[in-house]
Structure formats: structure tokens, C-alpha cells
């Protein structure tokens, strides 16, 4: 990849297509955050590929002046795997939603994460099906009344952070649409990460699930409910840091800061190999209700699928030499007829 830093204006990353999300949709903010970030990411735009599935979020590639595939429902991680492993020089980004990634595409998501394919997955979680006009999603809270659950959803929602950590993801993070700085910081970390990155972005659907994340965005409540995970820092939150996270018997708990010795307060370490603490942090909330961790949960190094596949190809070429057709078709033994 070219080492010459490439910088663009945000408009260079905008395609000529009119953005067609509903007015007020959280997707606009995320699109702006991504375009701003990519303008300064240092990668030329012909090397960037956006891959999406189906859903509101999946229209994202049409608005980026990069290469893009708007594929089919749930399959974006699989399509992106094919893109990434075919051309390791590319910077491959998946844009997905909670229904796309966790419901119809759940299988592809976990396998892309497990394999550590060099793709960055941005999952916009609005806890609702938007494009199909308002059915409950795999992240909708139990009891959620929607068109397809008039008496309330009876389903236990998924916790995307727990799922990703359980699926052996090497990079797991959560942001929220309104917090552009947090999103930009996480995108930067994701870009620099070798392997698959899973980024959940809470995204407000003002039409079908308005204010789902209000506890984390409302001026009056956000301080009390945002647990900002910062590598190397003590995990305290709330007004004047009066709340803290401690790990007791391996389980993350929220305590009053004044009740514990300062040394007991959890100092966040994104590089911890053992995923148990990151997992436990993900269990502090099961959705954006009450104190909820935001930021990078986990970032560890592991060989990537993309590199390993090409490593084997290089090794085969070294050992056997570049493949020759004439040798191949004779490899099972031949005889002559004259």
C-alpha cells in the first residue's frame, strides 16, 4: 500500500447520489463521521471498498465515493471476506444493521470474526427493523410493542458486544451516533487493527424507535449512564466520577467510588488476551438502559485469515514453484499411445 499520506476533503468521499434516509435519521451523523474520518485516513479512495447487506444502513455504500457492493440480506461479511482475501491491499468496510448482522446474517458475522478476516464491520444498531417499517429486531428489548409484536416481544435480545467477544473477535467496540469524536476515535483504532473489527454504533431511528438511546444522549442522564472505556484509565463515571467499575471474582460490578479502595477500581486494558473481563464489561448492561459501557472493549493481535491464506499460497509457490498446466495434467501419471 502506498505510504504517501493521502488527504481528501470530506466532499471527495461523497458520491453524486442523493442521500435518501429519513430526515433526522442517526445514519446521517454516522455518514458524516465516516466521511470526515476517511478524508484523513491516509488511504487512497480507490483502495477502499464498502460492502453492505440489506436495510437502511445498507444504502451506505451508495453515498461513498469509493468502491462498493450493496449485496443481499445478511451476507455482507461473506461478500467482504471474498473481497478482502482476494485483494489484501484493500481497506474493506462492512456497514450493517442489527437485523442484517445479527438475525439473517448472524452466521456470517460470527465466522468472519472468528476467522479474523481483515474487514471492519460497522453495525448500526437501532433496535428495530426500519426498512421493513417497524418490526422488532434481535436487539429490541423484551416486551417491545411493534407491528409484528402488538402484545410485546417475547424474545430475549442479543447483546452484540457479548456475541462478538464470544465469537473470538479480536477488536470489539461500541459508539453512539451523536458522539462524533468517540466514533472517529474508534474508527481510527479499527483501521489500525490487524484483522476483523466489530464496531456497534447505537443509532437513533426517529421514525420507528425514537429516543431508544436517550439515556445515553440526554443531557440530564448521559453523565450517569455512560461508562467510557479508555485504555489505561480507571473506569469511573457519573457526576464527579462518583461511580466506578470493579472486577470481583472475575465479574464486573458498578459500585460507589467512595465505597472502594482506589486500587480496586478497574483500569481498562484493551490488550488483555483473556476475553473474560471484556465479556463481563459487556454484561454491565443488556442494551442502552442504565449505565452502559462505550468505547473499545477489546483489541488483541492474532494472525489474520487474509495473511494466512496468502502465506500458504506463497509457501506453496516456494516449495513447488509457480504452477504449470502441463505438469498439472500429467500429475496422475500418463501413458503414450502411438
Amino acid at each position: 500500500m502506498s505510504k504517501i499520506p493521502v488527504t481528501y476533503k470530506r466532499t471527495d468521499l461523497q458520491s453524486d447520489q442523493e442521500v435518501k434516509w429519513c430526515p433526522g435519521c442517526g445514519d446521517y451523523t454516522i455518514l458524516a463521521s465516516v466521511q470526515n474520518f476517511m478524508a484523513e485516513m491516509g488511504i487512497s479512495k480507490e483502495k477502499i471498498v464498502f460492502v453492505s447487506g440489506i436495510g437502511c444502513a445498507a444504502r451506505f455504500p451508495y453515498y461513498m465515493n469509493t468502491y462498493g457492493v450493496h449485496s443481499i440480506h445478511g451476507r455482507a461479511p461473506a461478500v467482504a471476506t471474498g473481497v478482502s482475501v482476494s485483494n489484501p491491499d484493500l481497506s474493506v468496510w462492512v456497514v450493517s444493521g442489527d437485523g442484517d448482522a445479527l438475525s439473517i446474517g448472524g452466521n456470517h458475522l460470527i465466522h468472519a470474526l472468528r476467522k479474523n478476516v481483515n474487514i471492519k464491520i460497522l453495525m448500526f444498531n437501532n433496535q428495530i427493523y426500519g426498512l421493513t417499517k417497524g418490526q422488532y429486531s434481535p436487539t429490541s428489548e423484551e416486551g417491545k410493542k411493534t407491528k409484528s409484536s402488538p402484545f410485546g416481544s417475547v424474545e430475549m435480545p442479543l447483546n452484540p458486544m457479548s456475541l462478538a467477544i464470544g465469537a473470538e473477535a479480536t477488536f470489539v467496540a461500541r459508539s453512539i451516533d451523536m458522539d462524533r469524536d468517540l466514533t472517529a476515535g474508534i474508527l481510527e483504532e479499527a483501521k489500525n487493527h490487524k484483522g476483523s473489527a466489530f464496531v456497534e454504533i447505537y443509532q437513533n431511528c426517529n421514525v420507528f424507535n425514537d429516543k431508544a438511546f436517550e439515556q445515553l444522549t440526554n443531557k440530564e442522564t448521559k453523565l450517569a449512564n455512560r461508562i467510557n472505556l479508555v485504555h489505561g484509565e480507571k473506569t469511573v463515571f457519573g457526576e464527579d466520577g462518583h461511580k466506578a467499575v470493579v472486577i470481583r471474582n472475575g465479574i464486573a460490578q458498578i459500585v460507589d467510588t467512595k465505597d472502594v479502595d482506589e486500587s480496586e477500581i478497574y483500569v481498562h486494558n484493551i490488550h488483555e488476551e483473556n476475553p473474560s473481563i471484556a465479556f463481563s464489561l459487556s454484561r454491565l448492561s443488556h442494551g442502552p438502559y442504565g449505565p452502559t459501557p462505550l468505547g473499545v472493549f477489546r483489541k488483541v493481535q492474532r494472525d489474520t485469515f487474509t495473511e494466512e491464506v496468502h502465506g500458504q499460497i506463497d509457501m506453496a509457490k516456494e516449495q513447488k514453484g509457480e504452477g504449470e498446466l502441463d505438469k498439472l495434467i500429467r500429475s496422475l501419471g500418463t501413458w503414450d499411445v502411438s
Partner: protein
């Protein structure tokens, strides 16, 4: 060794079937005998048949595995009809296969396996050797297990391992009876067990024991030889369809100057393509064993987007799962080859048996108006060329292409007269590296001859574009819901495919062109149909045949060919799928010969049925 009393009878052809428990190593014995005969110079064709279960209960009919091979001193096209020789390693194998054995056929039994327990397990009420049902066959009882145990006494091997070598005794005996040298198999054994020299020695001893049994026992002194076949001059290898197909893909990638990407999920009988391709990474082949069939297809679409020769392989049920993704490739107009090694269906069906029942599914098994080219392999060696042709069309026309094989082509083998690889045509692609208009890049501005759109690859500056499954505007490729545009694009996608008819081999007539009857086929029935037509022509019955490699579009002379004949007969291993297509496309009152028993047609069966229709 003494061969004084040996008489050698020369025969033009022989069909031998080896049958035993799935753990008895019958596939191996068959393959070894085949390879030895190939090197000797016979023409040949094989038909392996095995249960879907890896180890079905021992001694039962369900667990019987078999391998049939026909060797001949002339050009043959099928693995033979009724075997002339049946080797049955146990009562179940006898019960499962005796009904196929030709009258007065040679029946070699492993007599040690005919204990009461096994006889009952096979479903016999009385010992078939005593019931009279073997009358009319030449029965040879050989104590294979006893011979094996005695021969391998000197080796320090556990009892089970010793008995595993009994298949080598059988192979040795057959090698004696048909005058085949052992050297080739000895070399193979030494190579295979190079790290286990004791096992190698034991197997060679067992092989020689079987051979020597033939020398010693007078009953085997009448032996047979099938002389070399007068095949066209050339260098030959013995190839099965899965390997031929794999190599065809590698060759196509090489000749298109692209790398090959193969996405697949393990499924019988297509898995061997994945196995074969994963061996050849030094051809820059990427094999991707996906989490499921859908991902295998989806990753292949991703690979195609970046400029690979992308291929996804499967069998029937897997094709159903890939259907939605194939439509995406079709709509995005990306090249993709989809291999379907057909097996018996519906659902899990008969995973290890051949059937041609996915033809309609290949043509029409997608939502929306979604025509795509379909190519079918007609024999194991032809699978190489069919794969090459499917790749050519996909790349030249920017379209998914379905390549049909089936279990009969995939696992059967035949000698292949190797091509001069330099003479394989270079394959064109639509890769574009510069703007195609002064105002910018139009990803759906088509080639005026092929209607193919340009293939812009990520990494190419200035050609950044987005493509997906939503309807695209002609030229710009932008999402469009415009009514006239959708009509146009739907028509365009159909024209693009039907236009390929001008760019494929014409339908050729085989046999008696002056006949009134044409036998029309596709895929793996090629050998059976051709042999049947040859037999009828030799008898003086006027009949011709033609065989489709391209099922969509049909070659542009198809109507002309069909119009020359009064009667059209279409044999298929389905309930009449090509029949419906031909009747619809050419308004001809064609007749079907149809079979869905999980077995291929035999040449004799087709000969009889075709003749009966001619004589009506």
C-alpha cells in the same frame, strides 16, 4: 512362476464389478485394476458406487460398496452394462449385485465370509451357494481371509489389520485371471505406505498370494487378456470428472490471466473439487471453505468484484441455498461460475447417486426474470473442457454461468488424451483501467458486441463505482426505479444471454445422418446414448444422436438439426426436463426415455428402448 498349464483367451472387452462391505477397500481395488489397465493401454470407463454412510452396518446390504470397470481393446464410452465378472466379498455384496451379473458370468466369492451370521444379515434365509440360485454362473469360491491370514503370519500385525489386506488377495487373483502385471500396484503400495514399510510388505505379500492362488488352482488356469485399444495417438491420463473439472478451472484462470477463487461448503459429491483445488495453491488458487453454502457463493461474488475468476461449487441442495446470491451476481453482472455436481433429489435424496434432475432448477431456479447460461459436462474428461467453456462465457459476457456435472461424471473415470495446453484459447475479460467516456466512468456502458459491461476492479483509480442488487440505470449503474429502464434492463439481460448462441459450438450429428430418428441428450448420458446409437447403426438400424453441452442458450443450429428428423427421442436421468424444454422451444413432439433409479442408463437398456420407439 509356472504358467505351463495356462491358457490365455483374448477377448475384446470385459466388465468387472468388485463388491464388498464399505470397509473392504473395493474402491481401491477397482482403482488399482483400472490404473494398471490404463497403463497397459486399454480403453476403459469406471462406475464407482458407494453408500452415503461412511461405515454403514457391516455385512448389510446398506453397507455394500462397489466399483465397476469396463476395459476394452476398442473405443468405449461406458463402464459396461451387466458385469461379466462379479467379485463378492460377502453375502450382502452377492445379494446386492448378483441380479446384474451376465448369464454364465464369472462369480468369485470370498467363501470365508459366508458364515451363517453374514448370510442372515444379508437377508438370505438359506445359504445362496446351496439354494441353486447361483446355477447358471461360473462360481469360484476362494478362501480369501484364510489365505490372507496365512500369508501375513510372518508379520507382526494385529488381526484386524491383517484382514484389511484381503482386498489385495482379490486384486492379485483378478490380476492373474486377466493377465495384468503386479508391478504397477506394487510401486503404488510402496509409495502409499512409504512411512509404514511393514504394511507395504504385507500388502504386497497379500497381492502376490492372490496371484499365486490363481497359478496354483487349476480352476483359474483359463485366463483372459484384453489387448491394447487402438486409441488415437497421444499422451493419456486416467481422469475422473471432479479432477477434470478442477483442472479445467485452473486452466481457464491461467489462460485468462486471472487468479482462481473457489468458494465451497463440503457436500457430496462436489467436495473432491474443493480437495483437488486446495492442493494447487501454487497456481495462486484461493480455496475458501465457507461457513455455509450461502457464504461460499457470497464470498465468490466478493472475489469476482475484485477481479478473480470466481467459482462456487456444490450439489443440488446447495444450489438452492445459493440461488439468491446467483441472482445478485446476475443483477450486478459479475462473472461467476456455479458448479452443480448433481445427485439424486429432492432434499437430501440420494447423495451418492447420479441424477440429471437439476436442469430446470439451473435454468429457472431464481426469483425474478433471471436468465443465465448453462453448460453441462458429458464425460469425465469433458468436464475439463466444460469448466473451461463455462469460465470463458462468464468472463466474456459478465454473467454467472451454471456448470452441471453429476455423480456419474464426477466419480467415474476414463482415459483422457491430453490437450496441448498452448492451443487452449486465451480467455477474454472485460477488465477496464481507464475512463470509458470523456465525462467519467459508466459502469453499465456495454460492449456493443457482447452487451457485457466493463469490469472495473477496486484499486483502479478513477473508476470507483457502486453496484448491488437494486435495479441499475443503463450506463451509469445508479439505482433506478424507472419503469422504462427496468423493462430495458430486463430485456437486455435476456438478450445478452441469448446472444451467446452465436458464440458456441454448433450441435453436431453423430451416427446415421440419413435416419429418421434423432436421439438427443445432455450431460452424463453421452456415453450410453452414443454407444447405443453405434450398436443400432452396426445392426443396420437407422438412427443418429446429438448431444447438448450448452443448455442455455441452445446452439443456433439446433432447430436446423432437429428439423432433419421425423422422430426425436430424449433419454434423461430425470422425469423429462430437457424433453419439456425442447418441446417448448422447437415445437417438436419429442419422446422421453426417463429413469430416476439412482443408476445411469446402460448402453443396452438405451439400445432396446430406442429401438422399440423406432419400431413403433
Amino acid at each position: 512362476m509356472s504358467t505351463e498349464n495356462k491358457t490365455v483367451e483374448s477377448i475384446p472387452a470385459i466388465t468387472i464389478r468388485f463388491a464388498g462391505d464399505s470397509g473392504d477397500g473395493m474402491q481401491l481395488v477397482g482403482t488399482r485394476f483400472t490404473d494398471t489397465s490404463a497403463v497397459f493401454g486399454n480403453d476403459l470407463a469406471t462406475l464407482p458406487a458407494f453408500p452415503a454412510e461412511i461405515r454403514a452396518p457391516q455385512g448389510t446390504i446398506a453397507g455394500v460398496s462397489s466399483f465397476q470397470v469396463q476395459i476394452a481393446d476398442f473405443d468405449i464410452l461406458t463402464p459396461g452394462d451387466n458385469p461379466d465378472v462379479l467379485v463378492a466379498m460377502n453375502p450382502a455384496a452377492l445379494k446386492a449385485h448378483l441380479h446384474d451379473l451376465a448369464p454364465n458370468g464369472m462369480l468369485i466369492l470370498n467363501e470365508d465370509a459366508f458364515e451363517e451370521k453374514n448370510i442372515t444379515k444379508a437377508g438370505y434365509k438359506v445359504d445362496p451357494r446351496e439354494s441353486g440360485e447361483l446355477d447358471g454362473y461360473r462360481v469360484f469360491q476362494v478362501p480369501m481371509e484364510k489365505l490372507t491370514k496365512e500369508a501375513l503370519e510372518e508379520f507382526d500385525l494385529p488381526g484386524r489389520a491383517v484382514l484389511r489386506s484381503k482386498n489385495m488377495v482379490a486384486l492379485g487373483l483378478i490380476s492373474w485371471t486377466f493377465n495384468r502385471p503386479l508391478e504397477d500396484t506394487e510401486n503404488w503400495i510402496n509409495d502409499k505406505f512409504s512411512k509404514l514399510p511393514e504394511i507395504a510388505k504385507a500388502n504386497i505379500k497379500a497381492l502376490k498370494t492372490g496371484y499365486n492362488f490363481g497359478i496354483t488352482v487349476e480352476a483359474f488356469h483359463h485366463t483372459y487378456v484384453v489387448e491394447k485399444a487402438a486409441l488415437p495417438a497421444g499422451e493419456y491420463t486416467n481422469i475422473n470428472g471432479n479432477i477434470g473439472l478442477s483442472w479445467g478451472l485452473i486452466a481457464a484462470a491461467k489462460k485468462a490471466n486471472l487468479d482462481l477463487f473457489y468458494g465451497s461448503y463440503p457436500i457430496t459429491p462436489a467436495s473432491d473439487i474443493l480437495h483437488e483445488l486446495s492442493k494447487h495453491k501454487n497456481f495462486n488458487v484461493i480455496t475458501f471453505q465457507a461457513e455455509d453454502e450461502i457464504a461460499a457463493a457470497a464470498a465468490s461474488v466478493g472475489a469476482s468484484f475484485t477481479g478473480k475468476l470466481a467459482v462456487t461449487g456444490t450439489s443440488g441442495p446447495g444450489l438452492a441455498l445459493k440461488s439468491e446470491t446467483i441472482s445478485l451476481a446476475l443483477s450486478a453482472e459479475l462473472p461467476l461460475v456455479i458448479v452443480n455436481v448433481q445427485r439424486g433429489g429432492p432434499s437430501t435424496g440420494l447423495p451418492t447417486k447420479p441424477e440429471q434432475s437439476d436442469l430446470m432448477f439451473a435454468l429457472y431456479g431464481r426469483h425474478g426474470e433471471s436468465p443465465l447460461p448453462v453448460v453441462a459436462a458429458k464425460s469425465p474428461s469433458h468436464a475439463f473442457y466444460a469448466a473451461y467453456e463455462a469460465s470463458r462465457i462468464a468472463l466474456k459476457y459478465m454473467t454467472p454461468v451454471i456448470l452441471l456435472s453429476d455423480n456419474y461424471v464426477a466419480t467415474g473415470s476414463e482415459p483422457w488424451n491430453l490437450p496441448n495446453t498452448e492451443e487452449l484459447n486465451e480467455l477474454e475479460t472485460n477488465i477496464i483501467t481507464k475512463l470509458n467516456t470523456e465525462d467519467g466512468f459508466l459502469p453499465f456502458l456495454r460492449n456493443v458486441d457482447t452487451f457485457a459491461r466493463p469490469w472495473a476492479l477496486p484499486g483502479t483509480p478513477g473508476l470507483e463505482y457502486r453496484v448491488g442488487g437494486l435495479e441499475k440505470e443503463e450506463g451509469t449503474g445508479n439505482v433506478s426505479y424507472d419503469a422504462a429502464n427496468h423493462q430495458y434492463m430486463t430485456d437486455m439481460r435476456a438478450w445478452k444471454v441469448s446472444n451467446i448462441a452465436n458464440d458456441i459450438d454448433k450441435l453436431e450429428i453423430h451416427g446415421d445422418e440419413s435416419a429418421d430418428t434423432l436421439v438427443l441428450g445432455w450431460g452424463s448420458t453421452y456415453g450410453g446414448i452414443t454407444q447405443a446409437v453405434n450398436r443400432l447403426n452396426e445392426k443396420g438400424v437407422k438412427v443418429a444422436s446429438a448431444h447438448f453441452v450448452h443448455l442455455n442458450p441452445f446452439p443456433d443450429n439446433t432447430l436446423e438439426v432437429i428439423s432433419k428428423f421425423k422422430k426425436v427421442i430424449i433419454p434423461e436421468l430425470n422425469t423429462g426436463q430437457l424433453l419439456k424444454l425442447v418441446r417448448e422451444a422447437f415445437l417438436v413432439d419429442a419422446r422421453g426415455i426417463n429413469k430416476v433409479s439412482g443408476e445411469p442408463f446402460t448402453a443396452q437398456e438405451l439400445t432396446d428402448k430406442i429401438e422399440a420407439i423406432i419400431n413403433e
